[in-house]
Amino acid sequence: MGRSPHPKWPRIYENGNTPDDFIDDLHAITRQCADHQCFISRFKFASRSIPLRFTSGMNRYTNFGNKATKTGFGEGLLRAGLTNPAVVCIGADITTSVGCNLFADALPERFISLGIAEQNCIGVAAGLALEGKIPVFSTYGVFAALRAADQIRVSVCYNNLHVVIGGAHAGVSVGPDGATHQALEDMGIMRVLPNMTVLSPCDATQARLATTAAIEHCNGPVYIRFGREPMPDFTTESMGFEIGKAQMLQDGNDLTIIATGHMVWEALLASEMLEAQGIRARVINMHTIKPIDKDAVIKAAKETGRIVTAEEHQVNTGLGSAIAEVVVQHHPVPMAFIGMPDRFGESGDPRQLMEKFGLTSASIAAAGMKLIDNRSIDNRK
């Protein structure tokens, strides 16, 4: 083929496998349970905050193994690149760190290195998009969403161009790098921009689907957010992914937990904790922050009467704000917000930081309990 094959994955070049075969090999997807409904509890997540008793005997999702959402992004990007020659990838030095190395190695003629210059990267992406390319630019979310915010606003969003922006290192789970590199405001900044779509997949598998959807099923700008730390990979491709369509992972009528990104798994764990207390929580994976799935939110408010939101992001402007905007306009119910409380992160082990800032299943469950305990003031349901 004249390209330098990726040393680890040479088969695509030698035996003519299709891109999907390649992806399948890549992940060694040997999942026994295609239907997520039949999964048994088999939590592998090293969550010290979860007593085992909460995870036994329930019908729950299976963690197929911890994997970073950035890896899913990189795989989705590669899959889209292999099938669509219009896809080009822009690198800002940290190619491997943000999941673009698979693409860069497999499709070097469509990988454009632009160095540590995020503002230029976004402008170049706009120029490529004007010419019919589908540029994907990924860097740390703090730099993608904030440093290049004006370029995103004017060159990309005002021109309504199909540029896919990957925001890596989302949340405090970035860990030891500390506050400067922990993206906690990116969703808020991106979701105020007209024309922008904002995606926040919950695990590596969904990140892969979300990335291909952002590339293949959008016409305008898309921001997709993902993390660095390996986290439970518990969804399946058969669950599908539709932009703007929230996924109800579990039904319940006592309250609803609406979570995004890494916090979705925590929400599932929290629902088990609540169930042990006799409380049936609905769990919604809000993988699309914009456009928000209003119908799912309104339905949850009407049917469960209480909502807890959970995100690895500032509650101000983030998922919590987005949900509250819908709730107050359509069906006001008591809410609680799990997320960063208007402060910066800090260095530490990812799990320690999640616990320090209350970004855990225990915090979600506690917030849910509190809403339930306050049920005397709630007669709206």
Partner: protein
């Protein structure tokens, strides 16, 4: 050197005069806007749209057209006037500039559907990056059209310009021509007083660019530079065009206070 025959030269002089008149009339009607830079660029826009650009006003999206990115969106009046006189839309429409519902936004906006607008722009320092992206795409697709980007000299104080300059030379984008409107003035006064740019040519050279200079009001000089840029190999070209802000109205020429002011009715009648 005269590369234009007298007849061709006179034709361009006449068109430039019409464009200046249209700029003044549209700004007068609008009641706000940027006069000085628009007049200063009238000759360069005339040379581009009426001599050098490969374009078709009846088919604005023609794939093989040369692309012109106006990075300094505030001089939209001269772009609009050039497009209208070239036949992209009726000249009368210039009088809707900056009004509610107009396709002629204060700074160019593609969403309003004006034919011939390549990019919605207005925030300084962004256009060169977009031009770099277009030049990369053209090379990937083996297309031989050129990308032109128009910049102000004050705009060069934006750091993103130099990120883009680095990228253009790194990727050897010889299909890219940047034109700098070097009138030496910005809103607070002289560029050299506000934030000095000199030695400007050396700056571009050190970034790996092919650097040309021209008199931005001499058609032979402008066109010679544009054609020379087209022969550059492996290097992007910047044309530093020496211009006079407000050119055409002697009472305001070289006066930075006319950067963003509107003309008086007398000025219009004198053109």
């Amino acid at each position: 050197m005269n590369i234009l025959a007298a007849e061709a030269h006179n034709r361009l002089l006449g068109i430039a005069a019409e464009i200046r008149k249209s700029v003044v009339m549209s700004l007068l009607e609008a009641g706000s806007g940027h006069l000085g830079g628009s007049l200063g660029l009238a000759d360069i826009f005339t040379a581009l749209y009426f001599s050098e650009l490969k374009h078709d006003p009846l088919h604005p999206a023609w794939a093989e057209r040369d692309r012109l990115i106006l990075s300094i969106g505030h001089v939209a009046p001269v772009l609009y006037a050039a497009l209208a006189h070239a036949g992209y839309f009726p000249v009368d429409e210039l009088l809707t500039l900056r009004k509610l519902g107009s396709r002629l936004q204060g700074h160019p906006g593609r969403d309003h559907g004006l034919p011939g607008i390549e990019l919605s722009a207005g925030s300084l320092g962004q256009g060169l990056s977009v031009a770099v992206g277009m030049a990369l795409a053209a090379r990937m697709d083996h297309q031989d059209h050129r990308i032109y980007s128009i910049h102000g000299d004050g705009e060069l104080q934006e750091g993103a310009i130099w990120e883009a300059a680095m990228a253009a030379s790194h990727h050897q984008l010889d299909n890219l021509t940047a034109i700098v409107d070097r009138n030496g003035l910005q809103i607070d006064g002289s560029t050299e007083k506000v934030m000095h740019l000199e030695p400007l040519a050396d700056k571009w050279k050190s970034f790996g660019w092919n650097v040309l200079t021209c008199d931005g009001h001499d058609f032979n000089d402008i066109i010679q530079a544009i054609r020379l840029a087209g022969t550059s190999e492996n290097k992007p070209t910047v044309i530093i065009a020496k211009t006079i802000m407000g050119k055409g109205i002697p009472s305001i020429e070289n006066d930075y206070r006319w950067h963003g002011k509107i003309p008086t009715p007398e000025m219009a009648s004198n053109l």
